[in-house]
Amino acid sequence: MLVGVGGQGVVLASNLLARAFLEAGYHVKQSEIHGMAQRGGSVTSFVRRGGSAGKLVYAPGIDPGQADALLAFEKLEAVRFSNYLKPGALLVSSQQEIIPTTVSALGSPYPESLDRLLDETGARVFLVDVLAIARECKTPRVVNVALVGALAAHLEIAPDIWEHAIKATVPRALEANLAAFRMGMEEA
């Protein structure tokens, strides 16, 4: 399951992951929900792959308690959707926090420590400093690919498949994206 805030590139990252699974020989389904707003709302996307031996994926979505991995582009969203994970499953999240306007403008309380809440999920948590990677790559647009790289460290997909999938999905600024993918992989 991939989650984030509208405008962060969650859907593009989902396309990349789905493409890599497909090229690795799995059946795959990738499903997302477009909310009402163009920017700023919660965004969720599911990527499901079939088993080996051509096992098909049927349902497009993942129900709470059923996800093998959660890739979060923002830390509050990581906590929000952590209940979708199976017990002890993988949670890769960006270090970045984006304060929702319900807090910044309307004064809703913000959790004291997201890190503590992430610990309490019981998931295997990996945090990625995407802003450092963005600085290194000199562009913030590679953040989504860096996060997929961090998830890829836990998946058994060959590097040449990833490279091909990245070329097909994000052909612009290819070198920066490939570098960001490798840096993400090293962080997780």
Partner: protein, 587 residues
């Protein structure tokens, strides 16, 4: 090429299906979750694709093409079919010479809709065949089948997709486009046969019995359709009759169970259903929303159930079916409590904000419409007070004032976007002028159809393929409808906007403000540099936060601007009485 198959969303697959079937024309109006169908057909040069002003026009355009012998398709969201239903009900009586496919994208769960109506009813109401795909491959295959059926039976065919299908990508095998002869032969001119196309009562009376006979013939076709199939026929235990996306949940929850999958789901293949049900003790019909198939089967005498254990509301899921028909499962983990929500909002720099802010200051009661500006219902603007359907705002305002008088309705204002106004706002405004109304209307013109992802409309100057085209003159149009008092404002200029809104509310005559500024997310939008806030000058008065801009936040009680979000609209700079927010350096 490493890939034999490509990943397509359900919508892209429907578009591909139209291409492969040889369609020549696609007409649509944008609406989530249907929009990508026509966006995709527009990328094929072989198919003429247009954004029609509304869904009724789209279906009429597609019908014209089909009456002339072409393969054509109209695509829309579920509520769009309500708009198109007037032609639909009569086109069903006419003899389609080519092929006419209508795609309805339903939205169980109301992810981006005002209701979750079940459009399978429309097939029954209009007495036309219904096809329901379960994944992208089937969406493509059934689209090709829809064109074939339409041509064979001379009837419009309804394809019903849902949000989960439309927005799920999965592998699809691509085939070549197959062109069948369409329209009059070479050197021949179009001829129409009035008995088949002129639905005056005398002709319609002769056509209706044919429609009933056609349904019987279609039922026979459904019996033989490869898209209606029994899976795991030799298994025992609970058995399921299902279609569309719910089929995928059944397969996930009960992989070995007997399933009758209906891809061609109306008219129902009753013989096949009888064969499936025979000898089985437990047969459940699994259908999201209304129990259409279940009710019809019960009326036919079948011992089936399903809806008594499931809801008529919202989407289903694998877990839901396991809990309803399987072993009791452990409860699903609950979300972490007390997290601040992240609701949809007007974007930073949204031009709608300027006029909504001015209306909120006047404590106006805004009757909203379908578009981004409906988000003026949430804090801190909280000024939008109704949202019904495309074009409803103006009629609502007019009715309130006519019934109770303006002294009671007070500061009621209709607000409608440019695309929505062209869709169905012109007629109610004409009604206001004609009936000596005094309704005040704000047309928020952001020169695009923003909420569905920036499609062209008659006022944008761009067609469905992005080519320049005739641009409707909104001011002249509103005046021609009979409204003399028309003011055009730039909503980024708060001083003039506030004055125009004040004058609008004080006016006795019907009046229109056109609040014109490009959507801030358009690449062509004019931008000022991002704003910067000075912590030293900020007095923490909170006035700027009343704009509800997502780029503004508080740090240590003082306003700060998130430069990555700020689109440089300058409204917060204008609102701050202490000069604490200034234009930043140009990047």
């Amino acid at each position: 090429m490493l890939l034999e198959k490509v990943l397509l969303s359900g919508n892209e697959a429907i578009a591909r299906g139209a291409y492969e079937a040889g369609a020549r024309l696609v007409a649509a109006y944008p609406g989530t979750p249907s929009t990508e169908i026509a966006e995709t057909t527009a990328t094929f040069k072989e198919m003429y694709t247009e954004w029609s002003p509304n869904e009724k026009v789209a279906l009429e355009v597609a019908t014209g093409a089909a009456l002339a012998g072409a393969w054509s398709m109209a695509a829309m969201k579920h509520v769009g079919v309500n708009v198109a239903s007037d032609p639909l009900m009569t086109v069903s009586y006419m003899e389609i010479d080519g092929a006419l496919v209508l795609v309805s994208a339903d939205d169980p769960g109301m992810w981006s809709s005002q209701n979750e109506q079940d459009n399978r009813y429309w097939a029954r109401f209009a007495k036309i065949p219904l096809l329901e795909p379960s994944d992208s491959q089937e969406a493509k295959d059934l689209t090709v089948e829809a064109f074939r059926l339409s041509h064979e039976f001379h009837a419009p065919v309804l394809i019903r997709t849902t949000t989960r299908l439309s927005h799920t990508r999965c592998p699809v095998t691509l085939l070549e486009r197959v062109m069948v002869p369409q329209g009059p032969g070479p050197g021949q001119r179009l001829t129409l046969v009035p008995e088949k196309t002129v639905m005056i009562p005398a002709n319609a009376k002769r056509r209706h019995p044919l429609v009933e006979q056609r349904l019987e013939a279609l039922a026979a076709a459904a019996e033989a359709s490869p898209f209606n199939r029994i899976e795991n026929p030799d298994s025992t235990g609970p058995a399921f009759i299902t279609s569309g996306i719910p089929y995928t949940y059944v397969k996930e929850a009960f992989p070995g169970s007997p399933v009758l999958k209906l891809g061609f789901s109306y008219p129902l293949p009753l013989k096949l259903i009888r064969e499936f049900v025979a000898g089985r003790k437990e047969v459940y019909v699994i259908e999201e929303l209304d129990p259409l198939v279940e009710t019809e089967l019960k009326a036919t005498g079948f011992q089936v159930t399903g809806k008594d254990r499931l809801s008529k509301v919202d989407e289903y899921s694998t877990t839901m079916l396991q809990q309803a028909f399987g072993e009791p499962a452990a409860p699903a983990p609950k979300p972490v409590p007390g997290l601040p929500p992240r609701p949809p909002l007007l974007c930073a720099g949204c031009p709608h904000r300027g006029v909504l802010y001015a209306l909120a200051l006047q404590k106006a009661v805004v009757l909203g419409d379908i578009g981004c500006y409906t988000l003026g219902v949430v804090k801190p603007l909280e000024t939008v007070h109704s949202c019904t359907c495309m074009g409803a705002s103006i009629g609502h305002a007019h009715g309130m004032e006519k019934a109770l008088g303006r002294e009671v309705t007070g500061k009621v204002v209709a607000m409608i976007g440019d695309s929505t106004f062209f869709h169905s706002g012109m007629t109610p405004l004409l009604g206001v002028a004609y009936n000596n109304g005094s309704t005040k209307t704000v047309i928020v013109d952001n020169l695009t159809t923003a909420m569905t992802g920036h499609q062209g409309n008659p006022g944008s100057g761009f067609d469905a393929r992005g080519n320049p085209t005739k641009k409707a003159d909104l001011v002249a149009l509103v005046k021609a409808l009979g409204i003399d008092d028309v003011t055009v404002i730039d909503p980024y200029d708060l001083k003039t906007t506030k004055a125009a809104v004040k004058r609008l509310l004080e006016s006795d005559a019907p009046a229109v403000i056109i609040s014109r500024r490009e959507c801030a997310l358009l690449r062509t939008a004019q931008r000022r540099p991002a704003a910067v806030a000075s912590k030293d000058t900020c007095t923490a008065c909170g006035l700027c936060l009343k704009l509800g801009c997502p780029a503004l936040y508080k740090a240590d009680g003082k306003t700060q601007v998130d430069v990555t979000l700020c689109n440089g609209c300058t409204m917060c700079i204008q609102v701050c009485p202490f000069g604490a927010i200034k234009e930043g350096d140009p990047q």
